[in-house]
């Protein structure tokens, strides 16, 4: 061998070293293979058993769902502790014995327990099976004292949703339901697993992400009977955020009591920003019943009830707008130049058009009417004339411009569009050309028109605030558990009413007179001495034009009574609340809906004043 730097080294020199290297490599791989053999073949049974009956378990720490408050921080929804009776199938040894003992202590049958556990045990049998949800404290005490003879039986403490004032705002707040297989697969709920509750309806659904929080994890070691021996690792859950709704607790309570025994809906809004101050729908349902699990019978009765208690009529109920629609017709007539402030129409109590007689609600007629008087007294003949001159399509343009005929776009799901017909629509949908006579019905809100109480509230609020159509908002703020602001709402303008300020003043004058003039349709029902109110009544005919044609004697079917509307705002010159009231089969718009709206306005404005003066008093101290 040469010394010094080798330029041309003998390859054999390397080759010997490489052979040694290869030998070392093979040796180490043999050691690895031996280790594999030891783990998988010699100890394979042992580890297989450990893996299928792993004594280390990852348990989830449930995240507390966020609380729900009203706009003033009044707590509406919280969580209460609950205890679920669970069984871990692998730890039941044997299943028959435990089921037998358990049946002696509870009202469950041994067979039931066995079949429940057998059908729900997962592939490996150590995911707990819930046997009975929400057991009483007494039963829990009994079970705990017998725990030594009940291997595999555990009691999971959890939190259950509690609707404190249920059924207050049941439709708005909504309820929870068990997550479905499909939702689990949809990956929309990454932190949920089977048996978890998710928002099903109302704000609970709309704000699911904000409210639900993120569960934590703990690693625990369990003994042979499935009891936790010690907690090895813990990652705490992140509780859900708290939701502050825009509704006012007292006003909401008022709305519900006003609707008690009736079928219908009330929406109250802040005209300055679109905040929903109250949203009630009647009849109501029990939210807590959903949390506890409805029986088949309860569910069927809710589903088949003709008054549709599960439906939020404020956003899902579609009704003919009746005379409240005259606000739209007036807008169209003034803006299109078909009529002006001084146009008068003589009302003899009817209008003959073609070979049909179109009646005014007032048999003997209103006499000479201008626009303001026509709105005030809701003269049909005046608006027949307007409709005749405008035609359906021009009216539809103003209705759509005011947000009718389409969803308001608020966060609550299942909102309905309503319907604003046009001549094209009728040709395409029904296949019959538009008849000139229908222009007359449309102008007074009868015919194909359908609106939701919420849409009418938005329209009324827009009239009140001189033209801004706001997207209705129910979320005041979302705050973290520690009180930090996560999300704050800001008013969202969806558009402007297609009307000039001048025309709007005429309409507003009419709305003011309707309540405050002796001839006004709502004078006797909605006028307040304390606060000036403006508004419009509506009586939606459901069959024929004259109900007394049908009704003979006292046996009058309630289903044929007209729906009652009232939309309005107060105080007239500086509006702070807009209200839309619909009472199904309430008969007279003025008599059935008017007083309800008035109560709502007075309640809100009076409590508001009290709060204002209380604040002042605070300031003086």
């Amino acid at each position: 061998m040469k010394n010094g730097v080798l330029q041309k080294i003998d390859p054999e020199w390397f080759r010997k070293r490489l052979l040694v290297l290869m030998l070392l490599v093979v040796l180490l791989f043999v050691i690895l293979a031996a280790r594999l053999f030891y783990l998988q073949i010699l100890k394979g049974e042992h580890y297989r058993e450990l893996s299928s009956n792993n004594c280390l378990r990852k348990q989830r720490i449930e995240a507390l769902r966020g609380l729900i408050y009203d706009r003033n921080g009044h707590l509406l929804v919280d969580n209460r502790p609950s205890y679920d009776l669970q069984i871990i199938p692998n730890d039941l040894r044997p299943i028959e014995e435990t089921a037998q003992r358990l049946s002696q202590l509870t009202d469950l049958k041994a067979v039931e327990i066995e079949s429940l556990v057998r059908s729900n045990r997962g592939p490996y049998g150590y995911a707990p099976v819930v046997v009975k949800k929400d057991i009483t404290r007494d039963l829990m005490a009994v079970l705990l004292s017998h725990s030594y003879e009940l291997p595999g039986v555990t009691i999971a403490t959890g939190a259950r949703r509690n609707y404190i004032y249920e059924p207050l705002a049941a439709h708005l707040i909504g309820y929870l339901g068990e997550i479905s297989e499909r939702e689990l697969k949809s990956k929309k709920f990454p932190h949920k697993r089977g048996g978890d509750m998710v928002g099903r309806f109302g704000a609970e659904k709309a704000f699911e992400n904000e409210l639900s929080g993120v569960p934590g994890v703990k690693v625990v070691q369990v003994n042979a009977t499935g009891r936790v021996v010690r907690v090895l690792d813990k990652q705490p859950a992140q509780p859900g955020h708290n939701l502050f709704l825009t509704i006012d607790f007292q006003l909401q309570q008022k709305a519900e009591s006003l609707l008690n025994g009736k079928t219908g809906a009330i929406v109250a809004m802040d005209p300055e920003n679109g905040d929903v101050l109250a949203m009630a729908s009647s009849p109501v349902f029990s939210q807590n019943a959903f949390i506890n699990g409805l029986s088949g019978k309860q569910w069927r009765s809710l589903m088949t009830d003709q008054n549709h208690p599960l439906r939020n009529k404020a956003i899902q109920g579609e009704y003919p707008p009746a005379s409240t629609y005259k606000i739209i017709t007036a807008m169209a007539a003034l803006e299109e130049g078909v009529m002006n402030r001084n146009t008068t129409v003589y009302c003899p109590g009817h209008l003959r058009f073609g070979n049909r007689l179109y009646r005014c609600w007032k048999d003997y007629g209103h006499g000479e009417m201008d626009m303001i008087e026509a709105i005030e007294q809701s003269c049909d003949v005046f608006f027949y004339q307007a409709g005749k001159a405008l035609g359906v399509d021009r009216i539809a343009r103003y209705a759509k411009g005011s947000g009718l005929g389409e969803k308001t776009g608020m966060v609550l799901a299942n909102e309905e569009d309503g319907l604003i017909p046009t001549s094209d629509w009728k040709r395409n949908k029904i296949g019959i050309p538009w008849q000139p006579g229908e222009n007359l019905s449309i102008a007074i809100g009868q015919g194909y028109n359908l609106v939701t109480p919420l849409q009418m509230a938005v329209l009324t609020a827009a009239v009140a605030n001189n033209g801004t159509v706001y997207k209705p908002n129910i979320m005041e703020a979302v705050k973290s558990v520690k009180g930090g602001l996560v999300e704050k709402s800001s008013p969202q303008a969806a558009g402007k009413l297609p009307v000039s300020q001048e025309s709007l003043e005429i309409i507003k004058k009419g709305l003011y007179n309707a309540v405050n003039n002796k001839h006004g349709t709502a004078y006797w029902y909605a006028r307040s001495e304390e606060i000036p109110i403006s508004g419009k009544t509506g009586t939606a005919q459901l069959v024929g034009r004259r109900s007394d044609d049908l009704a003979e004697g006292e046996e009058f079917d309630r289903k044929h009574l007209p729906h009652a509307w009232f939309v309005g705002y107060a105080p007239s010159h500086n509006p702070r609340i807009a209200v839309s009231v619909l009472i199904e089969h309430g008969e007279g718009g003025a008599s059935a809906a008017g007083p309800v709206a008035k109560e709502m306005m007075l309640t809100y404005l009076n409590t508001d004043e009290e709060k204002g003066s209380a604040k002042e008093a605070d300031n003086q101290e």
């Binding site: 080294i9 053999f37 297989r48």
Partner: protein, 369 residues
């Protein structure tokens, strides 16, 4: 200009093995992130496939030119890699995941410079040793430059901290040095020095790293932290038994007992789902890969090529042994990807570049300079 012999001598077997292992890797990552409940990482296997494809392209580039022409560029490559490595330590540039700052964000991709640094060190050492070969072996003086070549990146990676990658650099550098022969007396004195240095090194480790080494010997004392990984991994491997539980059926995998099963613990997925048979099959594939690499060194007539091939092969070898050993509970849990199998773009591309260089050496074994 283009020599037909290049194709004649091309190592098709090495290419085939690389493709097979990379594909198995993607399938295993799919299993690791998709078994059981929905996983936010479910699409990782697609990313791995994209990395694999781009790595293959780079691999082709790395054997198109003769590796001998690299000689001049090696210091530049080494310097560039060190620069990236240093950049990780700049607070604005480095990206921290799980307490370690190992990554650079570059637009849509995140680069882990410590991976290509391994190759740069191997290249630089091969270049140096090829010029210093002595049949009596290297003496102290000869070993000072390699100490810096490997030492600088070693320290930079240790402070990230990434014990696994730093350890690999040390192991590969040591392997290459011993391969080219150290003079006898120098070797013994170095051995004594290392024995003295070990306790000092122990003292310098982070608590969690010491814990993990301790766990190796006493896995049941703390089942929550370091011991949890080892115990769960052993359960996964052992429960695979002879034939495994089947693809996508691993219960340890499905129930997420194992963290990082798509990266460092990917071998546990094979062991659990394909059992002893599958695991031995995988070990044989890797043994083949390593013997192909050593064979390339064996038939190469050029010292630089031989030493380079040994360096690359030893990188693959050590990563395999440490990773599999760690999964089976005979090595401490350190960040150590399984070559070609584990999820991770930088590591995959680095290994593919290494494979490209091996092919490069192999196809030019009979050509002159």
């Amino acid at each position: 200009m283009f020599d037909r012999r290049l194709i004649q001598y091309f190592d098709w077997w090495l290419l085939a093995l690389t493709l097979i292992l990379g594909t198995i890797g993607i399938l295993l990552i799919y299993s690791a992130v998709n078994a059981g409940e929905q996983n936010p990482l479910a699409d990782l296997y697609i990313r791995q496939a994209i990395w694999f494809a781009s790595g293959l392209a780079l691999m082709v580039i790395s054997f198109l030119f003769s590796y001998k022409r690299l000689d001049r560029w090696i210091p530049l490559i080494y310097g560039g890699c060190l620069l990236l490595l240093a950049l990780v330590l700049v607070p604005e540039a480095g990206k921290t995941i799980g307490g370690s700052t190992r990554w650079l964000s570059m637009g849509p991709v995140t680069l882990q410079p410590s991976e290509p640094v391994k190759l740069a060190v191997i290249l630089f050492l091969a270049r140096y040793y090829a010029r210093r070969l002595k049949s009596d072996g290297l003496v102290f003086r000869d070993l000072v430059p390699p100490l810096f070549i490997a030492g600088i990146p070693f320290l930079l990676i240790t402070i990230q901290p990434d014990l696994g990658t730093a350890g690999i650099i040390a192991l590969v550098a040591t392997s290459m040095t011993i391969f080219v022969k150290i003079e006898r007396r120098t070797f013994y004195s170095l051995a004594v020095l290392v024995l003295i240095a070990l306790p000092v090194g122990w003292y310098m480790l982070e608590d969690y790293q010491r814990m993990r080494i301790m766990m190796l010997f006493f896995p049941n004392t703390d089942a929550l932290g370091a011991g949890y990984h080892i115990l769960q991994s052993k359960i996964a491997v052992g429960s695979g038994m002879l034939y495994g539980k089947g693809y996508l059926e691993g219960t340890q995998n499905i129930l997420s007992f194992l963290p990082e099963q798509h990266t460092d613990f990917i071998f546990s997925v094979i062991a659990e789902e394909f059992g002893f048979v599958g695991s031995i099959f995988m070990l044989i594939l890797y043994l083949l890969l390593i013997s192909f690499g050593l064979n390339i060194a064996y038939v190469c007539r050029d010292p630089f090529g031989t030493i380079l091939a040994v360096g690359i092969t030893s990188m693959i070898f050590w990563q395999c042994v440490i990773n599999v050993g760690m999964v089976m509970g005979v090595m401490p849990v350190v960040g150590m990807p399984m070559p070609l199998l584990s999820y991770g773009g930088s590591a995959l591309v680095t290994v593919l570049l290494g494979m490209g260089l091996l092919m490069n050496i192999s196809m030019r074994r009979f050509t002159g300079s």
